[in-house]
């Protein structure tokens, strides 16, 4: 056990910070042309991705030809920590960089890597993930979007929903059913589908706050025809990738969510005194306790995350990883609620102006946090996974 990192890791941190200071997009640049969805690549974002890729700072753990520098896991942690602290988004197409590109590197053909994975990494193209459907949310394997093989093509019919960034994406990493007769987990395949083609209709689905800037979409497929070589991996082997995709997602997010939680607590603590000053003695004590509980949550999340990470680095298994999404998303929600309640009736005000970079009010933020507890495996599904996979309780 050790509180600090070894000296070479600190050298690595210094090197990255120096590079970051010289190469990061400026606040002004980002504010002038904000990303409008999770698959929108403003010019600054494209240039930023390319600079990171060329310098080996995009995915430091990967080899140089994939935008990395063969860094170890601890170095990658330090890199993510500093990038998050600097307030610079690593990418404006997180599902592309975090899920689609790594899945293609694992399962895709050399041609698919050339046409899809590398352009994502270089900030040239953005992808969306076609997973959930009206009838397949938590039970993703129940998906029914159909892809029928017709000679050397697939013909796709069906509907996706909650598809982040579909309104801006260049292509979709689409999970669809290729064998309706097989058991539900065994008849699913993944196709790469260009979004700009006949038969695809994207209907934005404005969210609970920020109606004018939707990121979620419904996507309708009507007789969409794609060449058979757009199949990723083996036919009917898509479920393996679905699990892999979510694993990529989880491996990536714990640190970000912990740092986000810590930053949110710091902001709450800084802003609290002016609201507390309006309260009576007992009400104030109760409110302070809520804030401190959130502070403890953030520290617990930090320690639990680092403990799990240290176990993985030492080559062990880390059941802590399964706890992180549940814990940090619910902690974030408790915090947002405490922040909203702290403001009393003033907390009911709407944010001054709605834009893609709006500072949400605490009450709006509270509603936004449900994105964390619902998506990518709801808290209820996380508890099932922990109970069954980690604790070994019978199904």
């Amino acid at each position: 056990m050790k509180l600090s990192f070894d000296a070479p890791v600190e050298v690595f941190r210094r090197e990255f910070l120096d590079w970051l200071a010289a190469n990061r997009p400026s606040e002004a640049e980002m504010a002038a042309d904000p990303a409008r969805s999770s698959a929108h690549l403003p010019d600054w974002s494209r240039r930023w991705a390319r600079r990171q890729f060329d310098a080996g700072w995009l995915v430091p753990g990967w080899p140089p030809e994939l935008g990395g520098r063969n860094a170890g896991p601890v170095e990658q942690l330090v890199y993510l920590e500093e990038l998050t602290r600097a307030g610079v988004p690593r990418t404006t197409n997180p599902q592309g960089l975090g899920i689609i590109a790594p899945s293609l590197l694992d399962y895709g053909s050399p041609e698919q890597i050339e046409r899809y994975a590398l352009p994502i990494l270089r900030g040239e193209r953005a992808g969306c993930l076609g997973m959930s459907e009206p009838g397949a949310g938590s039970d993703l394997a129940a998906l029914s979007t159909r892809a029928e093989q017709d000679g050397d093509r697939f013909v796709i019919n069906g509907q996706k929903v909650w598809t982040s960034g579909a309104n801006y994406a260049d292509f979709c990493f689409l999970f669809c059913r290729t064998d309706p007769a097989a058991p539900k987990h065994r008849g699913i395949s993944v196709l790469l589908v260009e979004m700009d083609q006949p038969g695809i209709r994207v209907q934005p689905l404005p969210e609970i706050v920020g109606r004018d800037h939707p990121d979620l979409n419904e996507v309708f497929f009507t007789d969409v025809s794609v060449p058979a070589n757009q199949l990723v991996g083996k036919l009917n082997d898509g479920w393996t990738m679905a699990n892999g995709s979510l694993a990529h997602e989880r491996g990536m997010v714990w640190l970000g969510s912990v740092l986000g939680l810590q930053e949110a607590v710091a902001r709450l603590v800084a802003e609290a005194p002016r609201w507390l000053a309006r309260m009576g003695e007992i009400e104030r004590a109760v409110s302070i306790d809520q804030i401190v509980r959130s502070y403890v949550d953030a520290q617990a999340a930090r320690c639990l995350g680092h403990r799990g990470f240290a176990k993985l680095v030492k080559g062990g298994s880390a059941p802590e990883q399964a706890l992180m999404k549940l814990m940090s998303s619910e902690a974030r929600q408790r915090l947002a609620l405490a922040a909203a309640e702290l403001q009393g009736a003033r907390g009911l005000d709407a944010s001054a102006q709605a834009g893609p970079f709006t500072e949400w009010t605490p009450l709006e933020q509270y509603f936004v946090t449900f994105g964390g507890t619902i998506s990518a495996g709801s808290s209820e599904i996380q508890r099932n996974i922990i109970a069954e996979k980690v604790l070994g309780l019978p199904r």
Partner: protein, 377 residues
Amino acid sequence: MDLELSEEQRELQVNVRRVLEDACPPALARAVHERGASGAALWEQMVALAWPGLAIDEAHGGLGLGAVELCLVAEELGRALAPGPFLATATQFVPLVQEAGDSPLARELLRRVAEGGLIGSVALAEGDRWDLAVIECSAERASHGFRLHGRKTAVFDGATAREIAVVARASEAGAGHLAVLLVPASAAKVQPRTLLDPTLALADLAFEDVAVPTDRVLIAPAPGTERAVERALEVATVALALATAGTCRRIFELTLAYVKERRQYGRPIGSFQALKHRLADIYLAVERATALGYYAALTLAEDDPRRAEAASLAKVEAGACQRLVAGDGLQLHGGIGFTWEHDLHLFLKRVKAGDPLLGSAAEHRARLARKLGLGST
């Protein structure tokens, strides 16, 4: 930050657990509850294994290990429901003596603990509050030392300890500063407390003008003594937090095993989602408490400036954990957990002690609030 145990630490944990599985089965705690059995034999075994002097320098006869190892042993003792004066001696008395610096008295005490299994304790709380600001017990300067006067409560093993380090407030010279005076237990009026969990021993002590000669002054009153006492209290707090986390983990394991084995409606009750979700939450609480406990122990071992905050975090989390785990553990055991015959109650009664002693979760949240600058608005 690396919060995973090293090879050596894991080995220590495994060895301690193995010793306690033989030497301290739940039957021992039951014998204490039912027949007034004592933990004396277990303590002798701990002394033979050099556990009391685990964190004492080798130069003074100890093993020379650090706060992390000390807290790991405390965690295992909590897990095993061990009776006896380990917490009092190794996690309270020794750290306070170590804060005294390199005096002949401190050297002698450390050697007696490490080599002879001296049982020591710390008398700090007054009115069951472990808050230095409330200390009124007075140390009045006398011709050859001090005269000690006042009442202390909830002294761990206060009825069996040979030496008590009493934290008192100097009344004249160095007025207001704290002093730590070493008093033989025989000089105090001892009132043992009758606890729901007799595997723990607490006593209230009264000192009525006890003469303490100069060579028994462990820490003389001076501007730095508050911090010295706080530092020792931080070690005690983290050790108790991890002992509580250890007991919580055992309750969690018992409960998990029970819901896998108990069948109703033709299936294990652990297959019902209502129970699964509660077990997931219990597991999360135990892992949170353990992770924050290890973090706090590490700040002590590295003498990091965050140690006071970390100790409060660990105690808050241990308190929250026992609150959930004790209640849900009992509820999920159903009727059998409600009986005297089942061992569960032994663990439940112990784990409850983990909250109020050395400051409750609520009190430590208040400390955190002050550290965050929220206390004075």
